[in-house]
Amino acid sequence: MKTYDAIIVGSGACGGWAAMELTKKGMDVLMLEAGAHVDPSKDFHHRFLYELDYRGQGAPGLVRRYSGSERNYKIMIDDVENPYTTSPETTYRWGRSRCLGGRTLHWARATDRMADYEFKAASRDGYGMDWAVSYADMKPYYDRIESFVGVSGAYENLPQFPDGVFLPAMPLNCAETIFTAASRSLGWPSTHRRLSQLTRPHNGRPACHYCGNCVNGCDVGAMFNPIAVTLPPALATGKLEIRTDSVVARVRMGKENRAQGVTYIERATKTAVDVDATWVILAASTLENTRLLLLSEKGGLANSSGLLGHYMMDQVGGGGVTGILPKLKGGPARLDDGKQAGITIPNFQNIDAKTQRKEFIRGYVMNATGGQTEFPQFAANVPGYGSEWKKEIKSRYVAQARVWNAGAEMLARKENLVELDPEVKDAWGIPVLRIHFTHGDNDYKLIEDFQQRAEELFRKAGGEVMPGPVSPAGFPGGPGAPDSRPPASGTRGGEPSALSAMEAPRRRRPLGGSIHESGTARMSVDPREGVLNSYCQTHDIPNLYVFGGNAFPSTGDKHPTLTMMALAARGCDHLLAKTK
């Protein structure tokens, strides 16, 4: 049997980056992807809702089976084939994809650097554990990734929101301009959302054409995803072999405490196949990585610390305000949602002694946008009917406005964990994860504070609050988004309306998530305190690396993908140094 230099399990943001780094350095790499091959030129098209049988909602059977919409369900996961279970108190919903490229095919593209106030938060406020890396360790990797993938953004010189290597920022629409003015008049920082979305041609890829279809798969590769950005150069080396429809079941151990390879099951034939490699990299998404470690040895592989599976986190979602900006009412139609962007208001609390709050620790990032959207979700909430009602809908349609929570830091707690379900198996007979996940008091207080600030911003902008969905189309929880669900569940996907969200903390209704799961194999300096070292190499098994959000000892308040990729890039450098 051929022994590859490296096996990479998963083809998402981290797996794709690792494949590119390692093959460019001459390694023979086998990439195993559980999902199907995706071809943007065939699979991604601009389609209006009226061109779809179910106007985006999906056929009744498909809606139950997939978490996506009628446009993008094929790049989501089949929940029937891939179940997971939860403890009775858990309301968490695990958003997943299984296809070449993974979740980056429909991600929100937010590309933010974490700062030392996040990496070293425990030293500042005493909660949890510091990361085993600092911003200085991460900066070269942030630089490398941003330079390659292309990130649009504006330079702000904010210590809590470090600048990167940016392409020109995307222009602001009218609602975003008004919210920027409102934010600054409140003394809050504000900037363009930083997105892996090209504002000019970059590394052979065209600029964004502002169609607004990002969450349905970019047809030209103007937003970052592995199939457009990292896998083509990796394949061009001739050193990368990709096997899709290959469901990895476990890591196989060999002699001298080294991983020998993995066993995968062919999706269609259900045949088990063994493949060997000198190095094994798990990059199958955070919780899937941990599931594989749990599957690979009784008690969990690389689990001498006993902490594998523990400290599961996801940035806290939910809350927000929706309504209209009267300044924009009755204006002309404009392309407002074509970039699927908005403004970012970085966290400005608990970043130093001066901004410290007594009520809670850590913070959150706010986003705001507005204007025309594909579908006026508010319409049925406007009283009346007839021609006057139609005119009112059109008048408000261009004046829509939203402030939403981009992700609040969730505190790590050991009792939030994943384990193998003793009974339930997936379509290939592999035990599934059982998730135990609840929010703590600080999480609720953060969302309570966010809600107050969001309303303050909205009022300052002159907005009129209306009940209705908070997240705009294309964003988590919004219509057409991967995690969209009919409202009323009170958890993610059915995110609470502005009014219900305001009541939520008092009633302690379940909070939402952000599809930013992390933890469960945290990094540590001391092997007794974590599963991975600062290079995402397992403490216990020297040729086994885990790339994803697993290493995070805390969530921070930034979108995590860039940091996951930077950790993967740093891990690849470490691995390559070991091969010399």
């Binding site: 209006f48 056929a59 629409n173 003015a181 047809d219 300044k327 392309l335 139609k390």
Partner: protein
């Protein structure tokens, strides 16, 4: 953004290197021209010859009339042109085996609507019935036994209309889902202050 010849050539070279480039670039070039509604493809006619399957003829005719009162044809198309009643019937008939709750809800709604006399009423009478049904929406304390019917039809009718070409493009002039060379920045100085 001014597109110089050199820039066009460079963009062309980049785009042509991609799979599906010719389709994409053809559409993109069209988008560089003056904006009109032609970028939105015509209605594919999914409901053109649709025969109602869920509602009987009388209920369907009543539903179609009701949706047209809520979203009438005026200077832009209304629910009738958008075939909103057809779409609602399509959704409900597709729900067989998956969502009997919604189907039961709509059967109950049509029964309640019939009991208001809507089915048998003339146009003026129907307008009066809808006005009475809708009153609780605006008047605190007002009630009507068929208010839930009004809300149910309004909600689904709004979705059916504004996701149709008639509603999305002709009534609202939606600009997205298109190929654009640049993103239009806010050009209103008055928006820069609050």
């Amino acid at each position: 953004m001014d597109l110089t010849r050199r820039r066009w050539l460079r963009l062309t070279a980049y785009a042509l290197a991609l799979p599906g480039a010719s389709d994409f670039f053809t559409a993109w070039l069209k988008a560089a021209g003056p904006h009109d509604q032609h970028y939105a493809p015509p209605d594919p006619g999914l409901l053109k010859d649709y025969v109602p399957k869920f509602f009987d003829a009388a209920d369907f005719a009543a539903l179609e009339a009701f949706t047209a009162i809520l979203i009438p044809t005026d200077d832009t198309p209304g629910a009738r042109e958008a075939k909103c009643a057809h779409f609602i019937d399509f959704l409900l008939s597709s729900a067989t085996g998956f969502d009997t709750r919604s189907q039961d809800q709509w059967r109950a709604a049509m029964k309640a609507l019939r009991e208001t006399g809507f089915h048998a009423a003339d146009a003026k009478g129907r307008d009066e019935i809808v006005a009475a049904m809708a009153r609780p929406e605006r008047e605190r304390g007002a009630t009507h036994p068929a208010y839930f019917v009004y809300r149910l039809v309004k909600q689904q009718n709004a979705f059916a209309f504004y996701t149709s070409r008639a509603g999305m493009i002709e009534a609202l002039d939606y600009r997205g889902n298109s190929f654009n060379v640049t993103f239009p920045a806010c050009d209103h100085p008055e928006h820069r202050t609050v």
